[in-house]
């Protein structure tokens, strides 16, 4: 998955009055906004988590859980914390406004609302949200290559492993390291080294699948996270990635240099023991070192404690050709 700015157009209305839902839909749809609704606090929180709206319009006088409590919980939950909340309520006293804003809401609109004002306030909240999203995303990007960075990969690895454990799905990690990179840097300079890294990154991005998460893991090391992918299927992808590096020629100041990379592959289904991010990284790292020891420019897999060379081995690849 390549970095991209998420679609900024969904508004969640949490209000127990159906007339208000219809009214908000009629008033915000001409702005090109998608409006979804819930009439209860608990369901509203669940919907916010599952639908990830860009703005939440929240009533205060809700049955069961009131709007203040809903706001507090949305601001506590990691996946909804950054969604701007605008109170949309018939409660007009200053004390309630202050309480709502102190709980983390960005704005407070009283009912009956003026449609022009509501639209303008929603637009303002969306603008802020968009900038926040961009900032957050940039903190997860690698400046040199445009790939995801290590902190993003670590975060995704953790959450994808949870998914893999819960649903019994395979998750595979591929680590790649540019061969003799120090030599390239020392002989041709760091600027050329940067061009090499950019070239390798481009190849990885082009030859990985859409669902794969490609990251620069540090220095000249890259990591590719393959969700819902078995060891065997990941070996095919890895082989393709290895060839993408091998076939790439980097040019600068009339120098043409070919570089290669070594790969290590480990799958959640085949590492045994406790399934943690550290164990999966350790297994892929061992396989990567085995590739370096075997002369570089090849792929090794870690399987049940064994390190096996798979480049040029039709048995290891299973001949299925599945990618």
């Amino acid at each position: 998955m390549n970095p991209q700015v998420p679609n900024p157009n969904r508004v969640l209305v949490i209000d127990d009055n159906e007339s208000i839902h219809k009214l908000v839909v009629a008033r915000l749809r001409p702005e090109g906004l998608e409006v979804i609704g819930e009439d209860d606090g608990e369901r509203g929180i669940e919907r916010a988590v599952s639908s990830q709206p860009d703005v939440i319009l929240l009533d205060i006088g809700l049955p069961n859980v009131d709007g203040f409590e809903v706001c507090r919980r949305l601001k506590e939950h990691p996946s909804t914390r950054n969604i701007p909340i605008i109170f949309l309520t018939g409660t007009t006293d200053t004390e309630s406004k202050v309480r709502g804003l102190d709980l983390g809401a960005v704005d407070y609109v009283t009912k009956p609302f003026d449609q022009v004002e509501l639209r303008a306030r929603v637009r303002a909240a969306l603008r802020t949200k968009r900038l926040q999203d961009i900032l957050e995303q940039q903190s997860f990007l690698d400046g040199l290559t445009g790939l995801w960075n290590r902190s993003y990969l670590d975060r995704r690895l953790e959450s994808e492993l949870n998914v893999a454990r819960r649903y019994g799905r395979p998750l595979t990690l591929v680590l790649a390291d540019v061969d003799h990179f120090k030599r390239v840097n020392d002989s041709l300079g760091h600027l050329f080294g940067d061009i090499v890294l950019q070239g390798i990154a481009e190849g990885l991005r082009a030859y990985a699948r859409r669902s794969d998460i490609v990251a620069r893991y540090g220095g000249e090391e890259f990591a590719i996270l393959l969700t819902d992918t078995t060891l065997r299927a990941a070996l095919h992808v890895s082989e393709r990635l290895r060839m993408s590096a091998e076939n790439r020629h980097c040019e600068a100041r009339s120098e043409v240099v070919s570089v290669t990379a070594s790969f290590g592959v480990a799958c959640s289904e085949d590492i045994g023991g406790v399934l943690t991010p550290e164990e999966l990284i350790r297994a892929a790292d061992l396989a990567l070192y085995a590739s370096k020891d075997a002369g570089r420019n090849c792929v090794h897999m870690y399987r049940d404690g064994e390190l096996i060379l798979t480049t040029g081995d039709p048995d290891a690849l299973g001949g299925s050709g599945a990618t």
Partner: protein, 103 residues
């Protein structure tokens, strides 16, 4: 009382939902009276609060104004007579609303 029309009925974005809203108002009036009769003041206050919030948004400023007064009188518990007057006034307004024609 003169017929009351929504100030938004010529707005194509609004016409359909104004009709839906207007059509339900006689039933809301009956509900207000039933709640008053049963002295269910907390439910009455909730309904008044909802009408206050929605009325103006549908182009009926009078509904918001009187429902707001009703809510206030119930909240402060000032006098039953005042609440009764507000309910009567509000119900008269709700029943005077004309459902716009749609083509």
């Amino acid at each position: 009382m003169d017929p009351i029309r929504s100030s938004y009925e010529s707005d194509p974005d609004m016409l359909e939902i104004v009709c839906d809203f207007a059509r339900e108002l006689p039933a809301r009036a009956a509900r207000l009276e039933a709640l008053l009769e049963a002295r269910s003041y907390s439910d009455l206050q909730t309904l008044a609060h909802q009408l206050k919030g929605a009325g103006g948004g549908y182009g009926f400023a009078q509904i918001t104004e009187v429902a707001g007064r009703l809510e206030q009188s119930l909240k402060s518990g000032s006098s039953e007579t005042l609440a009764k007057e507000c309910v009567a006034e509000l119900c008269a307004i709700l029943r005077a609303v004309v459902v716009p024609e749609t083509n």
